[in-house]
């Protein structure tokens, strides 16, 4: 075989004595956003022993193993084309729960949905939740996810007490801030490249009601939105800004902020009722009549620039007319906006969608995000959704945390715009990187080895490489994202 960058060498030479994996394990696996789709040999173990067996199975055939939780990463973080995909979504046991301290131990496949449904009636809510409840805790820890309270509660990793890590070598390591501390800080946010988490212990947050106090604050520009964030982040529990990507000129970055605060003990006089799971369920219909399962189909005809421009403008002007106002919402209703419309990604059409999110210091946010929006508009690829959040730094090795802001943008991918969109993300990435920006593996689909080398300090990169070599000397654990950003050499 001629040498070529396309060749993916097997990890070890395969002897003909090893029978090939059975074809019925070959399955299509997709990036959540639908922007890429691969075939993998999928195994779904239920125990740590099962994970070890799958490691052995792959190793004997010279295949690599990609870990996959609930498959909610937008890009290729949980894809491993033509190799083994270890889907942990069957490891869903809750191993220990102490309702007096709020400390819980779960298997990696347990989802945020399963978690809050289990703990909320005891008065505990997950300390960190992303915009959807369908992520797994194993995946969330591997990506070190954040939520709308990142400025106050940080990332998920900060609430993790410890975890059991099964290394590709077969060794098991207990990791915490005092035991294997280096590995603890690298495996959280290490996107599944150092070992497989087989159980994880973390603390939940005490709540005294199933409701939150919410305030909606329309903002006319990006700068106004940033001002409100700066004024409020000391007192708010949650802050999130919706940005209309179609706003231009004096309306650039116009949008709507939602602030939410927990209710103090005693404010809700019927907490046992509002904390019930049934009280938290999302409505089965939208606008009171429309079955939500059909909603993405109804959105599909509007998912083109003029359609989204119209919908966004309507949303902005309606909220601006309504002005600032207060209301109460359930935790679920406030936290999981993405779950109101099941399968909403399908509205984006056959090319799928990607998310681009960059994290920049507070002083740079206005300039960088303004420039990104203008560049996207000039390129003719306007984000259909923009979400602004406040962040803080964290102690993890591959941290994306900054004392500043992130702007996440959703882009529709089509056969016609794909190449231009990829170029645009490099361009927007450069703007953020030059301002001291950072990036986040759970969202990324487009960056290259060079991008990573540019923004990740060389010593962090080397430290991660060294840990990878120690935990996984044969590079058994790989994903598309890993090969794209770290290479296989």
């Amino acid at each position: 075989m001629s040498s070529s960058p396309a060749a993916r060498p097997r990890l070890v030479p395969v002897t003909s004595a090893t029978p090939p994996l059975p074809l019925d394990h070959l399955e299509p696996v997709s990036a959540w956003g639908g922007s890429s789709r691969v075939l993998s040999w999928v195994y779904r173990p239920t125990t740590a022993g099962g994970i070890e067996e799958a490691f052995a199975l792959a190793r004997a055939r010279g295949l690599s193993v990609g870990l996959r939780g609930a498959g909610q990463s937008y890009g290729d973080a949980a894809l491993n084309a033509e190799n083994v995909c270890l889907d942990l979504s069957r490891m869903t046991r809750i191993l220990a729960w102490d309702p007096s301290t709020g400390v819980i131990t779960v298997e990696p496949g347990v989802t945020i949905r399963q978690l809050w449904q289990y703990t909320l009636e005891d008065g505990w809510w997950p300390s960190i939740v992303p915009g959807t409840m369908f992520v797994s805790l194993g995946g969330a820890a591997a990506m070190n996810v954040h939520g709308k309270n990142a400025f106050k509660a940080g990332t998920l990793g900060e609430h993790i007490h410890g975890f059991e890590l099964l290394l590709p070598t077969g060794e098991r390591r207990t990791c915490s801030r005092t035991e294997n501390a280096e590995l603890f800080h690298a495996a959280i946010g290490g996107f599944g490249m150092l070992g497989c988490i087989t159980s994880i212990t973390f603390s939940m947050t005490r709540v005294h009601s199933g409701l939150l106090d919410v305030e909606a604050i329309p903002t006319r520009t990006l700068d106004e939105m940033l001002d409100v964030f700066e004024q409020r982040h000391a007192t708010a529990d949650y802050l999130v800004g919706w940005v209309d990507g179609f706003g231009t000129g004096t309306s650039l970055g116009r949008g709507l902020i939602h602030q939410a605060n927990y209710l103090a003990a005693g404010v809700d006089r019927q907490p046992a009722q509002t904390l019930r799971t049934a009280h938290q369920e999302l409505p089965p219909t939208l606008f009171g009549v429309f079955p939500k399962a059909l909603m993405w189909r109804a959105m599909r005809p509007l998912m083109h620039p003029p359609g989204v421009r119209l919908v966004n403008a309507a949303k902005y002007h309606l909220s601006a007319r309504q002005g600032r106002h207060h209301y109460r919402d359930s935790h679920v209703g406030f936290a999981f906006l993405f779950d109101y419309i099941p399968e909403w990604k399908r509205a984006y059409g056959p090319g799928g969608m990607i998310e681009f999110q960059s994290f920049v210091p507070a002083a740079e946010a206005s300039r960088v995000f303004g420039a990104q929006l203008v560049r996207a508009q000039r390129a003719g690829i306007v984000p259909y959704l923009g979400v602004l959040k406040r962040h803080r730094t964290d102690p993890f090795l591959l941290s994306y945390g900054v004392d500043g802001y992130s702007l996440a943008m959703h882009f529709q991918v089509t056969a016609a715009n794909r190449a231009r969109l990829w170029a645009l993300t490099q361009d927007m990435g450069t703007v953020a990187h030059e301002a001291g920006g950072r990036f986040y593996f759970a969202k990324d689909a487009t960056f290259t080895r060079q991008t990573l080398a540019d923004y990740l300090a060389a010593e962090r990169f080397q430290q991660f490489r060294a840990l990878k070599a120690a935990c996984d000397p044969t590079s058994l654990l790989q994903t598309e994202l890993y090969r794209r950003l770290f290479g296989t050499d």
Binding site: M1, A6, R8, L26, S36, W422
Partner: protein, 255 residues
């Protein structure tokens, strides 16, 4: 996985019978279009030269070579898996291997006929079965078989060759009926005479086209997902008429 720009709808292609003729030209065009192409054929030297040409051309297209004799049927499943692994996936499979030994008007050579059936039919089925199975699981993919106008009618010149192409046509049609509803495209390409080593030295070559034109039209048809494409397209009405000439009359014609 590189998700960068390509001009073809495919990013990874596997081409069996890649060393010469239409196959080699298909390989060059896929490579030029940014595809990663796996080249399968018997002769390593030809493959290496072709791969060097593709790798040297501007753009992202790269080639991998796999010397293999399509009549070694037992080796096909393993080789197919290896190739899919090396490419990191597969979007397009093309079977372009075919032989047409010279048969005299009064010649009956089982040896030659057998080689025709082994390469044109059994080799095709061995490979297409693997690709079909995979694409069925994926619910996506494009399968292309290079057949011939010769499959439309059993003419007097080379009985086994005509029979082999008729068999390939029917096999591909059946695959299409199996896989079409699952999102897999199965495309039958039926070229008339093409200026390749296969036809060199033959006389009476109506509507002769270059391998380059044949390859361009093949990829165009595959991208559009048409069921059957004649190359050039004027063969379609001609073959329609020829197919409908009653046998007693056809027998008397000097065709």
């Amino acid at each position: 996985m590189n998700l960068g720009p390509v001009t073809h709808p495919w990013r990874r292609a596997l081409l069996v019978g890649a060393s010469s003729g239409i196959g080699a030209e298909l390989a060059r065009q896929l490579g030029a279009g940014g595809c990663q192409v796996a080249l399968v054929a018997r002769r390593r030297e030809e493959l290496d030269a072709l791969a060097a040409h593709i790798d040297a051309a501007p753009g992202e297209g790269r080639a991998l070579v796999y010397p293999h004799d399509v009549t070694h049927y037992d080796g096909v499943p393993d080789l197919f898996r290896t190739i899919c692994h090396d490419l990191g996936g597969l979007d397009l499979f093309i079977y372009a291997a075919g032989v047409m030994p010279r048969i005299e008007a009064d010649e009956y050579s089982f040896g030659k006929d057998r080689s025709i059936i082994e390469v044109n039919v059994l080799g095709a089925i061995a490979w297409l079965n693997e690709a079909a199975q995979r694409f069925e699981r994926a619910g996506a993919g494009t399968l292309v078989g290079i057949s011939s106008v010769a499959g439309d009618r059993g003419r007097r010149g080379n009985p086994a060759y005509h029979a082999s192409k008729a068999a390939l046509d029917t096999y591909l049609e059946a695959l299409r009926n199996r896989l079409g509803r699952l999102g897999v495209r199965v495309v039958t390409i039926k070229p008339g005479p093409v200026d390749t080593p296969m036809t060199r030295g033959m006389d009476r070559l109506p509507f002769l086209v270059s391998a380059e034109v044949a390859a361009t039209q093949t990829l165009d048809a595959a991208a559009r997902g048409v069921r059957t494409a004649y190359i050039p397209s004027r063969w379609r009405p001609i073959m329609f008429v020829l197919r409908h000439i009653p046998s007693p009359i056809f027998q008397r014609l000097d065709l």
